[in-house]
């Protein structure tokens, strides 16, 4: 096991499988997360992200495979793992009819944060989450971003070395999201390993590494830059023209074109890395009746890589 050889590994997932009846929600997933690393889970709805996280928290029992968290086998000793993890579930789940301070005191008490430290820790969490002055507000009256930061605060009161965040920023405005990610980076700087799932591509860029998950399978794993390069071996061109539908068909059969995908009313076209591709495409379209197309090379985004990898996975299946 890598987790045993390298003490720096905080999460080690080995051939993890989860079935619900005949349905395979998590299909043979293997990865590691190092101390202080931010690992992002990227994947469409129903990919199995939450299911993996729940198995790592000991909330679901793996059908087979092994999960080690903070050096403990989760399936064998779920109770020992729980002291070492913080968890924010996909659905906001603090007590809405308690105040900010009451929620913090509640979870502090349940985690047995020492009595003489609790006040100071609550203070620092309140400060970190920007909740100063809101200690006595009922949680149900807080706006989304504040709620998420409080939930994070409740999850780290007991200073866990491993943090699981399941779509922590869903439904939160961009400024609050940015602020939330600053907090995640601060925690990571302090050595906390963070496993965070998200639907937002821009957020995935903030992660040290990304695990792309689709239909229960781990389809790719690497840094954002690695994934873009691996998924898109070629040049990505942005095409703006009329008759998009017709253009997709035309470009699909153009020489040197590897892939065409629609993005709004533009097309992203992946072509072989050669000189003169831009002019060749314009000419090809014009020759087939679509004049005035604008084509320019673009930097591939994670979204391009994601679409590419997920389509590849589905075609292989």
């Amino acid at each position: 096991m890598p987790g045993e050889r390298q003490p720096d590994i905080q999460i080690s997932v080995d051939h993890l499988i989860k079935r619900f009846g005949a349905f395979i929600a998590v299909n043979d997933v293997t990865f590691d997360v190092r101390r202080g690393e931010i690992m992002g889970f990227l994947g469409p709805n129903g990919a199995g992200k939450s299911t993996i996280i729940r198995m790592l928290c000991g909330l679901l029992r793996p059908t087979s495979g092994r999960a080690m968290v903070a050096g403990v086998d989760v399936a064998l000793n779920p109770e020992r793992v729980r002291q070492s993890i913080g968890y924010m579930s996909q659905k906001f789940s603090l007590y809405g009819d308690l105040t900010v301070a009451e929620n913090l005191r509640f979870f502090g008490g349940i985690y047995r944060v020492p009595q003489k430290e609790i006040a100071e820790r609550i203070l620092s969490v309140v400060e970190m989450a920007g909740l100063a002055g809101r200690e006595d507000s009922l949680v149900s009256t807080l706006a989304g971003g504040w709620k998420q930061r409080l939930a994070l605060g409740c999850a780290i009161l007991h200073r866990p070395p491993v943090l699981f965040l399941d779509e922590p920023t869903s439904g939160v405005d961009p400024i609050s999201r940015r602020r939330f990610w600053e907090l995640i980076h601060e925690l990571s700087d302090d050595g906390v390993s963070v496993l965070v799932s998200t639907h937002y591509m821009d957020e995935a860029e903030y992660c040290n590494r990304i695990a792309m998950i689709d239909q229960g399978k781990l389809v790719a794993l690497g840094t954002p830059a690695e994934l873009k390069n691996r998924a898109l071996p070629g040049t990505l061109l942005l095409v703006e023209c009329d008759e998009i539908g017709h253009a997709i068909e035309l470009l699909g059969s153009a020489p040197g074109v590897r892939d065409v995908a629609a993005f709004g009313n533009t097309l992203h076209v992946l072509v072989d890395r050669e000189a003169g591709q831009t002019d060749r495409l314009i000419a090809w379209l014009a020759a087939h009746g679509i004049a005035g197309a604008r084509v320019r090379p673009i930097e591939p985004s994670l979204e391009d890589a994601f679409v590419q990898l997920v389509t590849g996975n589905r075609e292989a299946a």
Binding site: L59, R82, Q83, I85, S93, E102, F106
Partner: protein, 377 residues
Amino acid sequence: MLDRIVRIWVKEFLEFYRDTGARYRLVIPAILQLLIFGYAATFEVFNVPTAVLDLDHTQESRTLLADFTNNARFKIVTVAQSQPQAEAAIENGDAVAALVIHAGFANLLLKGQTAPLQVIVDGTNSNEALVALGYVGTIVETFSQQYMVDLAGRTAAGRSMRVVQISVDQRDWYNPNLNSRWFFVPGVIGMLTLMTIVNLTAFAIVREREVGTLEQIMVTPIRPYEFIIGKTVPFFLIGLFQVILVAVTGVLWFHIPFVGSPFVMLLGSSLFLLSSLAIGLLISTLCKTQQQAFASNFFVLNPVFTLSGFAYPIASMPVVLQWLTYINPLRYYLVIIRGTFLKGVGLDILWPDMAALAAIAAVLLTISTLRFHKSLE
């Protein structure tokens, strides 16, 4: 252990305190149910169909019967000529009550002796019959007081006269144990407690599951029993409060006698509360949504009420259903609560019911605690 449990108690208390509707939901339905059952069991009746039979044929006997004839509570439907005729009126269902004045009635009155008035009531319609009996008592009382005053006025020896009495000879046909509010109100305590506690417990935990807070609790190092104790003890206290509330209201408002030991009653109530908590807990482990919990509660509570002896006598149930009543905690609790309220019996008599209740509570609590895992499966 205790520190975590206390944390949960504090949380439960705060949630209860903030939910201003909760205290009314606990008190108002309880009192309402008590009043409904208290009054439904005793509602007033008018025009009770009555047969009369006068075998004395004296001034006194006619005066007494006239008091009945002129009273709106009674409607004389049959003037019988013989005892069998009077009894037939009840058997045919023509009359609910029959009044029989035997020969020699006036004679006994004059001598200052107790003069019997025979009252026969149809026990199958126990409520009406019981209320009718009460009215008979009032009318007879008024009659005898009036008679005494008259007699005192007519005779010089009035002041030394003894009080004239007419005894009512009740013979309740068909149903020797007349139901009354005395019988119902203690039963309401059992029914209400069961309903409140099972609902509160099941919903409280299922709500946390549905909202997601249960998942958040499950990833903490809390032990299942710490959570269960933290979650259920407040409901136990609420249940005890409700028992006392309904009992005190029953005694003060309906004048139900409480002749037994409060200690025995509270002991039985505690055991019953534990059983109710366990049933609620068990339902909560089987349900994912509050809607499911609602349906389950309905399916569980209905047979528990029906097979308890609250409204339908166990002795008149089919044998198979009678067996089922032996695993019903409400059955034993009703015996305990009626026994302590009305008969004043103690542990020497009630211990088998207490033991059965304790056994049921222990089994149910064990099953529900074992079923309560800290996992989502």
